[in-house]
């Protein structure tokens, strides 16, 4: 008797669980469609002919994909030049972020020193400082140095570490067993040796995370380039894209061209994300929690 009720209850619980899972699954599927729809719409629009953009009822897929829309973007404005500029700046920034942040994070995670906690608090507190506060004096400084309309103001500050990535890397470095450092020191290695031969080789996931983060940030950065770059040949992708309506025949109503340009600009971000997502998503999840 008792046995019977238990099985009946267990059965209904299992059934309720199954129905719940099914509903959850449908919701998740629906959510995934909603979330990806904008990007899909962007790409399909990029492949349409101009008249197809404004058809009613809407045409979801173009009749024949207009690959020439992408080529047109490069005719419309020096898009290749913009890409090259952005690539140069982004690459230098990644090197700067990775080198400076990993060394600083290493010091915070692995070395003992008086005043370390205070210094770390100071690092973290800069996260609260809006760029807008330092933006004007920095502009004045770089103007004094004659760096306006060069890549230098966009690159040099990033060789001096930033709080966010220092924090990210420190969290990861803390998870590496401390014995490794001591063993290396006893074997006659110095501190830099520990950093370079012990810590860095064990930090693949966080290095990938920082590289992708840096790439995404600098590739899409807008405010700083907007302030510092003004001549056409120095513009970044983001700047070119923002002023696309100002180019003759690129303007109003040419949505397919606008979306083609946007697709080109976002493609590297999406590709890189899918390549590195395994490390990336885990890296964020791990470090976001242990505040």
């Amino acid at each position: 008797m008792a046995h019977n009720t238990v099985t009946v209850r267990a059965g209904s619980i299992a059934r309720a669980r199954l129905v719940g899972d099914l509903i959850a699954y449908l919701l998740i599927l629906l959510g995934a469609i909603i979330v990806t729809l904008p990007l899909v719409w962007m790409v399909t629009t990029a492949l349409k002919q101009n008249y197809e953009v404004f058809l009613f009822p809407p045409r979801w897929l173009p009749e024949t994909p207009m690959w020439s829309n992408f080529a047109y973007v490069f005719d419309l404005m020096p898009f290749g030049r913009f890409m090259l500029n952005t690539a140069i700046i982004t690459q230098l920034n990644i090197i700067g972020d990775l080198l400076s942040c990993s060394i600083v994070a290493f010091a915070f995670a692995r070395l003992k020193a008086r005043g370390k906690n205070f210094m770390f608090l100071l690092v973290l507190s800069t996260m609260m400082l809006p760029f807008q506060v330092t933006m004007i004096p920095q502009f004045v400084l770089f103007r004094q140095l004659n760096w306006i309309d060069t890549f230098l103001p966009l690159v040099v500050p990033h060789f001096f570490a930033n709080a966010y990535q220092v924090f990210l890397m420190r969290q990861f470095f803390l998870t590496i067993p401390k014995d490794l450092d001591e063993a290396a020191i006893i074997d006659g290695s110095n501190v830099l040796g520990v950093y370079w031969r012990i810590i860095m080789p064990l930090s693949g996931p966080i290095i990938v995370t920082v590289v992708i983060f840096s790439f995404l940030y600098h590739w899409n950065d807008f405010l700083a380039p907007l302030i510092y770059l003004n001549s056409e040949q120095n513009k970044t992708l983001a700047l070119g894209l923002a002023s696309i309506l100002a180019y003759p025949a690129g303007g109003q109503g040419r949505w397919e061209i606008l979306m083609a340009a946007s697709t080109i600009a976002l493609a590297p971000c999406i590709v890189l994300f899918f390549i590195g997502q395994k490390f990336f998503v885990q890296g964020i999840a791990l470090t976001g929690l242990k505040g």
Binding site: V35, P38, P58, Q132, L241, A265
Partner: protein, 313 residues
């Protein structure tokens, strides 16, 4: 037993210190040597500019003619400036709307995904994707989607028989449009929440099951309290970011229609680099900093009342 243990660790400790005393001093030197890039950067690009900005805020300066000392006049101007109050209001509405909605959506999706659903990894990546794309391209994408006549959003609404609003072209809907768009990037928080959910010990739920707790009770009394540290993280970092919003607004509305979406960051930028009122813009910047500082410190203070840390239990 106890004494032996003490003596053993004692001697080991002594030997340890003997060999490492030099090493410890060395470590301290290395520590400051290695963080020196950050210190130099902090002085040159953060502290120095902060001091300079504070001084600028007391002047009137157009970059071309010499700066004029005006004392607190910029701050007085601000109090009387309706556009300043407008920017403040718009920014606060945007930040509160965007951060709270993003957290709620992220939590709901994380809870759904946490049911150990097939393809969880795949969905996690898909939901995270919008978080990694940003900037001008995304702003264009949304601007086109929001088009009242041909944008995909109103087309979909029409399919369901709903007459969509004029979105960015309407002063009532422009700011909500920007908020909705920002929620699209909820994946960043979702990933953190999901990791948090997966870290909750199963035995807590099992114990609750034995006590006959309902699903809702389990959520309120186990899940939510244990998620508060992650929610706190999302809230603090989210607000700091949202209060500085710039790029999407610049591309999508330029602050319009009227000044309906003139967020603080854009108003500040316009004052500095469009009207060349460097002094006034610096004063605006300091007020923004003060707001962020107060909001963040307040959150840390309030956190003691609602954020639950396992060590307390």
């Amino acid at each position: 037993m106890n004494t032996i243990l003490t003596r053993r660790t004692g001697t080991a400790g002594v030997r340890h210190t003997a060999r490492f005393s030099g090493w410890e001093r060395q470590q301290e030197i290395w520590f400051y040597a290695l963080i020196s890039p950050w210190i130099v950067g902090f002085l040159m690009f953060t502290l120095g500019p902060m001091v300079a900005s504070a001084i600028f805020s007391l002047t009137q300066w157009d970059l071309l003619t010499p700066a004029q000392w005006v004392g607190l006049a910029n701050f007085a101007e601000m109090v009387a400036d309706p556009l300043f109050w407008n920017a403040l209001r718009v920014t606060i509405v945007y930040a509160l709307g965007s951060v709270s909605l993003t957290i709620v959506v992220a939590m709901l999706v994380a809870l759904l995904l946490n049911r150990n659903i097939r393809g969880q990894q795949f969905f996690r990546v898909i939901y995270y994707l919008p978080f990694v794309v940003s900037g001008v391209a995304v702003a264009w994408m949304w601007r086109i989607m929001y088009n009242p006549e041909f944008g995909v959003i109103n087309l979909v609404l029409e399919f369901f028989g709903i007459q969509g609003p004029r979105w960015l072209a309407s002063s009532a809907w422009a700011l909500p449009s920007l908020i909705i768009m920002s929620v699209w990037g909820f994946g960043g928080n979702m990933v953190i929440f999901l990791a948090g959910l997966q870290g909750i010990p199963q035995h807590l739920y099992e114990a609750a099951d034995i006590d006959g707790a309902t699903g809702a009770a389990k959520f309120w009394h186990i899940t939510l309290p244990l998620m508060t540290p992650a929610i706190f993280f999302a809230l603090t970092t989210g607000l700091i970011g949202a209060l500085q919003a710039f790029t999407t607004v610049y591309v999508m509305t330029s602050g319009g229609p009227g000044n309906a979406t003139m967020v603080y960051g854009l108003y500040l930028y316009n004052n500095a680099f469009k009207f060349f009122k460097m002094g006034y813009a610096s004063a605006l910047a300091w007020v923004l900093f003060a707001i962020i500082l107060i909001v963040t410190l307040l959150q840390f203070k309030l956190a003691r009342q609602w954020v639950f840390y396992e060590t307390e239990a």
